[in-house]
C-alpha cells in the first residue's frame, strides 16, 4: 500500500529562525497521526506547511504521489479558531465551496451540506449563523465543512484549544468517529489522553525536529525518548495536581 501523504525533508525558516528542520513523514491510508510537543515546537507550522498555508523553505509535500497545493481539494484543515464565515448560516458555510468549487447545483449542495452536518450531530441547526452556536457546535460545523469536500487527508490544528472542557468532549467524539471510519488524519493536540486513544502513531516534535515517531503505547508507555518523557511527566504532574485539587 502506498502512503496517502508523504512529507519529505520539509524545512521552514523565517529569517534566521529554523521552525521546521528536515521533517519526513509517510502517512498510510486510514492512519491517525497524533502530533504532540511543547508550545513553539513547530506542530502548527508543520500542519500549515503541509496544507500550503505557510511557504516552505525546502523539501516537498506529496498527496498520493502528486505535489499538493492549497485549494486543490487534497488536504482539508480544521483550525483552532473554527474560522467559520460569520455572515453565512451553518448550512451555507458547508455548501458554499460545494457550489463554487465543485460546481454543484444549489439543491444538491444544500442536501450534501445537511448530510455532513447530520454526520457531526448538527442536523437540526443548519439554519443558524455561527454567532448563534456554541464553540463546540461551531467547530463541528467547521469539521462538516471540510469533510463535505472529501479531502484525502484531514488536518486538525488544536481543534479543542479554544473550547472549555465540557465542549471539548463533543468535538473529540466527532474526530474519534471519523478516525474509526477510516479518515486519514493528522491531529495536533494537547489532549494527551485523546491523542493516546486515537492515534495509530504519535509524532513528538521539539524545536522543529521529530524526536520520536512511534505507536502511542510506546510513546506513552514509558518507552519514550528522554525529551518525550520529560514533557509527558510535566503534563502528567499537572493532570495529577488537577485531580488532587
Amino acid at each position: 500500500m502506498n502512503p496517502v501523504l508523504q512529507v519529505r525533508a520539509l524545512e521552514r525558516r523565517v529569517g534566521d529562525v529554523e521552525i521546521l528542520r528536515r521533517i519526513s513523514l509517510d502517512v498510510m491510508p486510514g492512519e491517525a497521526i497524533g502530533v504532540i510537543g511543547p508550545s513553539g515546537s513547530g506542530k502548527s507550522s508543520l500542519l500549515r506547511c503541509i496544507a500550503g498555508l505557510d511557504p516552505i523553505s525546502g523539501g516537498e509535500v506529496l498527496v498520493e504521489g502528486k505535489s499538493a497545493r492549497p485549494g486543490d481539494g487534497a488536504i482539508g484543515m480544521v483550525f483552532q479558531q473554527f474560522n467559520l464565515w460569520p455572515h453565512l448560516t451553518a448550512r451555507d458555510n458547508v455548501a458554499l465551496a460545494l457550489k463554487l468549487v465543485r460546481g454543484m447545483a444549489a439543491k444538491d449542495a444544500d442536501a450534501k451540506a445537511e448530510a455532513a452536518l447530520a454526520k457531526v450531530g448538527l442536523g437540526a441547526l443548519g439554519g443558524r449563523k455561527p454567532a448563534a452556536l456554541s464553540g463546540g457546535q461551531q467547530q463541528r460545523v467547521a469539521i462538516a465543512r471540510t469533510l463535505a469536500m472529501e479531502p484525502r487527508v484531514l488536518l486538525f490544528d488544536e481543534p479543542t484549544a479554544a473550547l472549555d472542557p465540557e465542549l471539548t468532549t463533543e468535538v473529540l467524539d466527532v474526530i474519534r468517529a471519523l478516525a474509526a471510519s477510516g479518515v486519514t488524519m493528522l491531529v495536533v493536540s494537547h489532549e494527551m489522553g485523546f491523542v493516546a486513544s486515537l492515534s495509530t502513531r504519535v509524532v513528538f516534535l521539539d524545536h522543529g525536529v521529530v524526536v520520536q515517531a512511534a505507536p502511542p503505547a510506546e510513546v506513552f508507555g514509558g518507552g519514550g525518548e528522554p525529551r518525550v518523557k520529560t514533557f509527558l511527566k510535566t503534563y502528567l504532574d499537572r493532570v495529577a495536581w488537577t485531580k488532587d485539587a
Partner: protein
C-alpha cells in the same frame, strides 16, 4: 403657507435631481471603491494616487476641471454626466478607504479556510471578504452617502438645477431667503433620514 405652496413644487422637482445625481454618485462610488480598496491594500501606485487626488482636491475644483477644463482637451461632457461622474469618482476614493478599513476587520483565518477549500481569490473577495466587511462598515458607508447627498449641491456650478440652487433662486426672486433656506434644509434632512432608514432597513 402661501410661500410653501408656491416654493415647494419647484424645490421638490429640484430635489429629484439631487436624489438621482447622488444615487448614481454613491452607486458608482461603491462599485469603483472595491477595486480601488483592493489596489490600496496591495499598495498599488495607481490606487494610492487615485485616493490622494480625489481626497486632496476639493470636489468643487474637480467639478470645474471635468466641465470646464476637459473641453480644452477635446472632451466635451454633458453637464449631468460631468456632475454624476465626478461625484462618483470622488465618492469612490472615500468608499475605498472605508472598504479597506472593513477588510482589515475580516479574520484572516476565514480567508485561509476559503483558500484551502479551493475558492478563487475573486470568489473569496466577493463571497467572503466583502459581505463580512460590509457588516462592519455599514455606519461609515451611510455616513459617506449622506455627505454625498449634501455635497451634490456643488454640482450647481456646472449648471444643474438641484435643491440648493433652486432654493437660492427662490430666495432671490421672492426676497424671502429665510423660509426658502429653511424649507431647503428640511427637505435635505428628510432625504437623509429616509436614506438612513432605508440603509438600516436593508440591514435588518
Amino acid at each position: 403657507m402661501d410661500f410653501i405652496a408656491e416654493a415647494l413644487p419647484p424645490m421638490l422637482w429640484a430635489a429629484g435631481n439631487t436624489v438621482w445625481i447622488s444615487a448614481v454618485g454613491i452607486a458608482l462610488g461603491l462599485v469603483l471603491g472595491v477595486p480601488i480598496a483592493v489596489g490600496c491594500e496591495a499598495r498599488r501606485a495607481w490606487a494610492l494616487t487615485y485616493v490622494s487626488f480625489f481626497r486632496g482636491v476639493p470636489l468643487l475644483i474637480q467639478l470645474m476641471l471635468a466641465y470646464y477644463a476637459l473641453p480644452f482637451l477635446g472632451i466635451d461632457l454633458p453637464a449631468w454626466f460631468a456632475a454624476t461622474a465626478t461625484l462618483g469618482l470622488c465618492c469612490a476614493a472615500y468608499m475605498a478607504e472605508i472598504i479597506r478599513g472593513g477588510f482589515a476587520l475580516v479574520q484572516k483565518g476565514g480567508l485561509e479556510a476559503a483558500r484551502l477549500l479551493g475558492l478563487t481569490p475573486r470568489q473569496i473577495l466577493l463571497r467572503i471578504r466583502l459581505p463580512i466587511a460590509i457588516q462592519a462598515m455599514r455606519p461609515a458607508v451611510i455616513n459617506e452617502a449622506i455627505l454625498i447627498v449634501k455635497a451634490s449641491s456643488l454640482v450647481s456650478v456646472v449648471g444643474i438645477l438641484e435643491l440648493t440652487r433652486s432654493s437660492q433662486a427662490i430666495a432671490s426672486s421672492t426676497f424671502e431667503p429665510l423660509p426658502a433656506y429653511a424649507l431647503c434644509g428640511a427637505i435635505y434632512l428628510a432625504m437623509n433620514l429616509l436614506l438612513t432608514l432605508l440603509a438600516r432597513g436593508k440591514a435588518a
